[in-house]
């Protein structure tokens, strides 16, 4: 078995009055995109900060590349994009990039040309000698992303990488992440947006209130937590379908979006039966499909509405 890139073993972190991460163990194999999922306040950022050596765990161990050291000792091999972005506003773009690479142990001679290369690739070549605060938010985000990957790290850790990005930049970052994996890099990213995780992740771990709820490959999780799911799309009003959704003999749970609904079948229920009842009710169907549950569905089922409410965090 390959040495995991990141391995957490029963890691616990307490802050005054509450436990942010509680006995969390996880393992990230090399070459995958690993999603760390959880509702707000679940402990994702705290976990990542412990991986990056910004916080020390109260209990448990963090290993990177098989060694019992966190991100700081491996700063040349690890790239980190924090949740709260920020660059020196009055520095020139190129200088910031070179400085942040230098701090990770890359020499200036190497960092300079690489920064230029990346700036060109992300369409910021003309801005290299401008000050950071002259750039738009989106451009600054790109610069920050470059600073994360400039030193060609084997492990890239992204805390909420899509937060606050417009669709165009979301696409840019997503492409870059996929490209990194194609080149054999390992990417760990946290998010609470399941649609993205579902499209990108090979493996994932869902946490809530600092505890692991489930982890594994995406397909395994879908298989074990799936149940029978049905997607129904309506052409026009779905009002007449309500009695069917509420029939607990057939439908265990219905997630009704108006034009579209996700149904979880009751034990022993038959999808054909539901189709018949829907047709009989007079609604016009545009879609009727048996499928795996969405990650979003699994997430909500697992986390539950109770756990989604974060505890008071005196120290966010």
């Amino acid at each position: 078995m390959l040495t995991p890139m990141v391995a957490l073993e029963r890691v616990t972190k307490r802050f005054a009055g509450h436990t942010a991460v509680d006995g969390l163990s996880l393992s990230v194999p090399p070459g995958v995109i690993f999603g760390l999922l959880g509702p707000n306040g679940a402990g994702k950022t705290t976990t990542i900060r412990m991986i990056m050596d910004i916080l020390e765990p109260d209990e448990g161990t963090v290993r990177l590349f098989g060694q019992e050291f966190g991100g700081r000792s491996h700063s040349a091999r690890a790239g980190y994009l924090p949740e709260e972005r920020g660059l020196y506003p009055r520095m020139r773009v190129l200088d910031v990039l070179v400085f942040l690479a230098e701090v990770k142990g890359v020499s200036r001679r190497v960092a300079g040309p690489k920064a230029d290369e990346w700036l060109d690739r992300l369409g910021l070549g003309d801005w290299r000698l401008r000050r950071v605060n002259e750039l738009s938010k989106g451009m600054q985000q790109k610069v920050q992303f470059i600073s994360t990957v400039l030193h060609d790290p084997d492990l890239v850790i992204l805390d909420e990488p899509f937060l606050g990005l417009d669709p165009v930049n979301t696409q840019v970052v997503k492409d870059a992440v996929v490209e990194l994996r194609r080149r054999g890099k390992t990417i760990v990213f946290s998010t609470h947006i399941m649609e993205q995780a579902e499209k990108l992740c090979d493996e994932l771990c869902i946490i809530a209130r600092g505890k692991k709820l489930v982890d594994g490959t995406l397909s395994d999780i879908k298989r074990t937590h799936g149940g029978h799911h049905l997607v129904v799309g309506f052409d026009g009003s779905a009002g007449a379908a309500q009695p069917v959704f509420l029939d607990r003999q057939l439908v265990k749970k219905a997630d009704d979006y108006g034009q579209y609904a996700e149904l979880e079948l009751a034990a022993g229920a038959d999808a054909q039966m539901i189709l018949q009842r829907l047709v009989a009710s007079g609604v016009r169907l545009s879609r009727f499909e048996l499928m795996e549950p969405s990650l979003n569905r699994i997430f909500i089922d697992l986390v539950g509405s109770e756990a989604a409410r974060p505890e008071a965090r005196p120290d966010a």
Binding site: I54, E84, G86, Y88, M91, D95, V103, G105, D315
Partner: protein, 422 residues
């Protein structure tokens, strides 16, 4: 170490690149030059000779002698003599109002008897002129009294020949060119420079910490280097900028002062020029510069660690401005004691201030400039200062480590104590 070097380099380059650095570099010597030159210039010109009328209310010819004596004094031009009478003072006052006169002096018989005279002028705060008048009146009144008692005033004048005390400071066992007035001036200027520069560069460290904290750059940095490395790089970097600034000032200041001689040459009375100007330009011994820089460095290291803590525990500029006050007060104690330190550098108070590490960086150079100091005192004070730097930096680093990642409420003193112990 390469990581620390990167931080040092960034702090240095970014600061030296900024407009403010060069504005300070240029204005610094001009400012300090002005502090030295303007009073000298004012003293040298002093508005020129005063046009004065002597109002003579004496019956003994004393008034005539006063007028005569003042005529020979370059500070005064006697434009006339008036006999004391009703309305004379009023009409002269009108002339003063119309700027035809600078003032008038009233002497009466009682001037000799009781030592009372009156000088009414548009400017009675010119210390030099008032002193000159008083000197003349004093001498003549004494002469008149002696004469009346039958003593030869010439004999008395010879007997009263004043001693011209020339002061030269002995530093170590060598006589320096520094005079006492100069020593005081130097001590004073040093205190101002030390106070300003420690504050300016301390606040520089503070805002640098705060900038990294508010922009959250610090999180990336701390994932790459230890907080202590970051703090070290910052303090060394800003310290290097301050040293560079001094170098510029030293070169610039020397230029300004060498020009000052020429400048003053045109203003001082011609016969006094060479000697006077040469004397009044500060001749600063190399040892003095050494003491100054050593204590500046010590003070900067001590205070920048404290300012770094202020930056680390604040979440914005406003909070930082409030939180920096205690640190500023600490530094101000020595600054406000400059007068006491310079006039009495050997007092118990002065010794105490130079042993307390928070006041020593200003107190010691001031005492050094004002009078010579025993070597063991300098050694002791430097030793305590060095120990304090280590202690304060250690404490500061422990608070800094946690503070830079904190957002929201500023921690209480109790919390800070917990961070230090943690």
């Amino acid at each position: 170490m390469r990581k620390v070097w990167a931080v040092v380099r960034r702090e240095f380059v970014e600061r030296v690149r900024s407009k403010w650095f060069w504005v300070t570099a240029v204005l610094g010597p001009l400012f300090f030059g002005a502090i030295v030159i303007i009073p000298m210039k004012l003293q040298a010109s002093g508005g020129g000779a005063k046009r004065v009328v002597v109002v003579d209310g004496t019956t003994t010819g004393f008034g005539a002698r006063v007028a005569d004596s003042l005529t020979r004094n370059p500070e005064f031009t006697i434009v006339g003599r008036a006999v004391f009478g009703a309305g004379v003072a009023d009409s002269l006052a009108r002339q003063v109002g119309a700027k035809q006169l600078d003032g008038f002096l009233i002497v009466t018989d009682s001037t000799v008897e009781t030592g009372l005279a009156e000088y009414d002028a548009s400017n009675v705060s010119s210390f030099r002129h008032i002193e000159a008048l008083r000197g003349v009146l004093d001498r003549l009144a004494v002469n008149a009294r002696l004469e009346r008692a039958g003593v030869d005033p010439g004999l008395v004048n010879r007997a009263q020949l004043r001693v011209d005390l020339r002061t030269r400071k002995i530093s170590g066992s060598k006589t320096t060119g520094e005079s006492s007035a100069q020593s005081f001036g130097l001590a004073y200027v040093m205190a101002i420079v030390l106070f300003l520069v420690i504050t300016i560069y301390g606040v520089n460290v503070m805002s640098s910490v705060l900038e990294e904290k508010t922009t959250r750059v610090v999180e990336v940095l701390v994932s790459s280097l230890r907080p202590f490395q970051l703090l070290l790089g910052k303090v060394v970097g800003v310290g290097a900028v301050s040293m560079f600034q001094f170098l510029i000032w030293l070169v610039g200041g020397t230029l300004v002062l060498s020009r000052a001689a020429a400048l003053l040459g045109g203003l001082a009375p011609p016969e006094a020029t060479a000697e006077q100007v040469a004397l009044e330009l500060p001749t600063v011994a190399a040892a003095t510069i050494g003491v100054f820089l050593t204590y500046f460095l010590g003070g900067f290291l001590l205070y920048s660690a404290m300012f770094a803590v202020v930056g680390a525990i604040s979440s914005n500029e406003q909070e930082a401005r409030q939180a920096q006050l205690p640190v500023m007060f600490l530094l101000m104690i020595a600054y406000l004691s400059v007068f006491a330190l310079a006039t009495n550098p050997g007092s118990a108070y002065a010794v105490a201030l130079s042993l307390i590490p928070f006041t020593a960086p200003i107190a010691m150079p001031v005492r050094w400039a004002a009078g010579s100091l025993p070597g063991y005192e300098i050694g002791l004070s430097l030793g305590i200062l060095a120990a304090a730097i280590v202690g304060v930096t250690w404490t500061a680093a422990r608070i800094y480590r946690i503070g830079i990642l904190m957002t929201g409420k500023r921690p209480s003193v109790k919390e800070l104590a917990r961070w230090v112990r943690a």
